[in-house]
Symmetry: C2
Subunit: 355 residues, 2 copies
Amino acid sequence: MKKKLNLTQVAKQLGVSIATVSNAFNRPDQLSAKLRERILSESSKLGYHGPNLAARSLRMGASGVIGVMLADSLSYSFSDPVASQLLQGVSEVLVDNKKQLLLLSGNLDSAEQSSAESLPDGFILYGTIKGKSLEQIERLGKPIVKVDCRTEGTHTVNIDNEAGSKAVAQHAFTHSLLTHKKDINVAILGLRLIDSARVCRLMPEDVCADSQEISQSRLKGYMQAASQCNINIELNKIWHIPINETTSAELAAREALTTFPRPDILLCMSDVIALSAVRVARELGIDIPGQLQVTGFDDIPEAARSQPSLTTVCQQSIEKGRVAAKLLLDSISNDIETQHIVLNTRLVVRNSCPN
Amino acid sequence: MKKKLNLTQVAKQLGVSIATVSNAFNRPDQLSAKLRERILSESSKLGYHGPNLAARSLRMGASGVIGVMLADSLSYSFSDPVASQLLQGVSEVLVDNKKQLLLLSGNLDSAEQSSAESLPDGFILYGTIKGKSLEQIERLGKPIVKVDCRTEGTHTVNIDNEAGSKAVAQHAFTHSLLTHKKDINVAILGLRLIDSARVCRLMPEDVCADSQEISQSRLKGYMQAASQCNINIELNKIWHIPINETTSAELAAREALTTFPRPDILLCMSDVIALSAVRVARELGIDIPGQLQVTGFDDIPEAARSQPSLTTVCQQSIEKGRVAAKLLLDSISNDIETQHIVLNTRLVVRNSCPN
DNA sequence: TTGAAAGCGTTACCAT
DNA sequence: ATGGTAACGCTTTCAA
C-alpha cells in the first residue's frame, strides 16, 4: 500500500514547483498546455489523483458537496417512491454540474451529525424538518432550498396541492354523480394530517384551515370539491396515516372499507395509500370501479403499472428535484433573491379496466 | 447573517483555551463535566455547533463519511428497486453508527469527481465498477467492500446467484412437467448478459461458463436446472436486456412472447423484467399461469403486491446492504482479514391467483 | 513559470 | 484541568 501523496511530494518528484502542480489541477490557463499534460499524467502515474478535498475545502471555503436533508430517516426515504423520485431529479442535476451528494437525515436526535453539516456548500431540505437540525443548518448561512415545505425566508419549491386534490376529487365526484345513486359516501385516507404515530380518525380540532402543511392543503382541496358538488364528508370518515407505507395504509383502508355505510369513494393522499386500499378492497371482494372508486396522489410509476391502474394526481417529483437542485446551484453561485416556485399538478385519469 | 465562528473565537469569548473547547467537543474525559456543559451550551448560544468537518478531517485523516459508489448513474439507481433496497440497508447501519453517506457514481468519465473521492474513510462499491473510478479508489488504500461483484483482493458481499436461479427454474420446470404437455418451451430474459446497450438475443460466444458476472451465474443456474430436467433451451431463446427498466424489458418480453412456438416458461433475471413480462402477456391475451409461467429474481416489494403476484428468488437486498456496511465499518476500525460473504437466496413461490 | 509564505480550523502532544 | 503550538494539505498572493 502506497503512502499517501500530497502536492508537495508530487512537485518534488516532478521537479516543478508546488504552485505549478496546484495550477495544473485548478487553473489550466496558468501554465503551458504541455506542462499541464505532463504533470497530470505523471502525477496520476505516481498515484496522486488530485487535491485532497478536506484541505481544499478548508482553504477555499467551499467543497463542491451538496447536502440533501430528508425529513424522514434515510432508510425509510429510500423505500419511499416519492422521495426516490425527488432524489433522482436532484442527482441528475448535481452530476451534470459535477457536485457531490451528501445525504443527511433530519430526524436525528440532537447534534449528532453536526460536523458533517459544515461541509456542504448548500442544502436541499425535503419535507418539514423541525428542531435542532433545521436551526443548525440555517445558522450556517449557506444557501438553502426547501421542498414540499412552505416558508417565507428561504427559497422554496412546492406543488399546488390544493388544486391537485381538488381536481382529482371533482373527477371522482362527477363520475359517481353520473353513474351512481344520489347519496354519495366519501372517505379520505390522509397522510400525516396530524402529529401522531398512530392510524386514527380525525377530531374536530384536527382540521386547520390555515395550516401550511401540504396534507392540510390537500384536505382543503378535497373539501372544496365536495362542497361544490354538494357532498358532505363527515369528520369520522377522515383517517390519519402517520407514514407513507403499505402496512399503515392497509390498516386504515380496512377500517374505512368496513364502516357502514361503506364509502363509494376513497380519496387517498398518496399513491402508496391508494394502491394499498385497492388491495384491501380486492381482499374484501369489493369491485373497483363498480362498487368503489379509489384515487391517489403523486403518480408514482407503480400507479400506472398496477392492475387496475390508478387515477391520481401527477406531481412531477423528478422535475421537482431538478428544479430544486438548479435553484440551489444558482443561488450558490449568483446570490439571487428569494424564490418561491410552485409547480403545476396534472390530473391523470386511469382506472379503466383494460380487459 | 452571523460570521462564521471557529474554535479560536469561541475560546476567546468564553475565556478558556482553544484546546479546552476542542476537548469539550471530542474528549469529555479531559475536563470537568460542569465546564464541558458550560462550554457546550454557551458555544451553541454563540452559534457554534461543533468543529468544521473539513478542518477536522484534514487534521485527523478521517472524516466519518462513507462513500457509496454505484456502477450505474445515481439518477438511475434511485429508480431501481434493488439498488434502493441496498441503500436502505446501508444507510440504516451508517446512521446507527453516526456515519455520513456520500453518493458517488462510478460511470463518470475521467477524474471529474476525484477530489470528492478523497474524503470518505471507506467505500462500498455496488455492482461492477470499471476503469478509472475503480483504480482511483483502490489506489487510496482505504477499506473497500464490493457488493454484487466477485473479486479476490477486497472484501466482497454476494449472494448465491447460481443456486437461486437454479431453484426457481427447477420449480417452474417441475410445475410444467406435472401439469403440461411434454415438450416444454423455455425463454430467458437476461439482464446485462453481454456488453451491449441494445435488447438482443445471444450469440454462441456470449455464454461464458466461467465469467464472474452475476448474470452469467444466474444463466448457469437456469441451464443446470434445465439439463437436470432434460429440457433444452435454445440460444436464440435467450435475450439480453441492457438495463433493469420496464421499457427495455417490455421490448424483450414482446419479442419473446411472439416467437413461435411460444414459450411456456419465461425465466426473468429480475423482478422488474418479470413484472414487465407479465404486463406484456396480459396485453397479448396470454393467460398466466395457465398458458405461461413467469419467474423473477430479487423479490422486490412490488413482486408481492402485483396481480398476479410473482414467483421469484429473494435475495435480501436490504440485508446485503446492512452486511456490507457493517463489514466496511468493521474493517475501518479493526483491520480485519479479507472476507468473502455469500448470502443465501430463498425461493419464493407465489403466482397463486387469489381470486 | 516559480519559490516562499500566509493562512483555512482543527487536533494532539507536551507543558504547566 | 488547562494552555501553547506544530502540523494536517491546500490555494493564492507577491516578488522574482
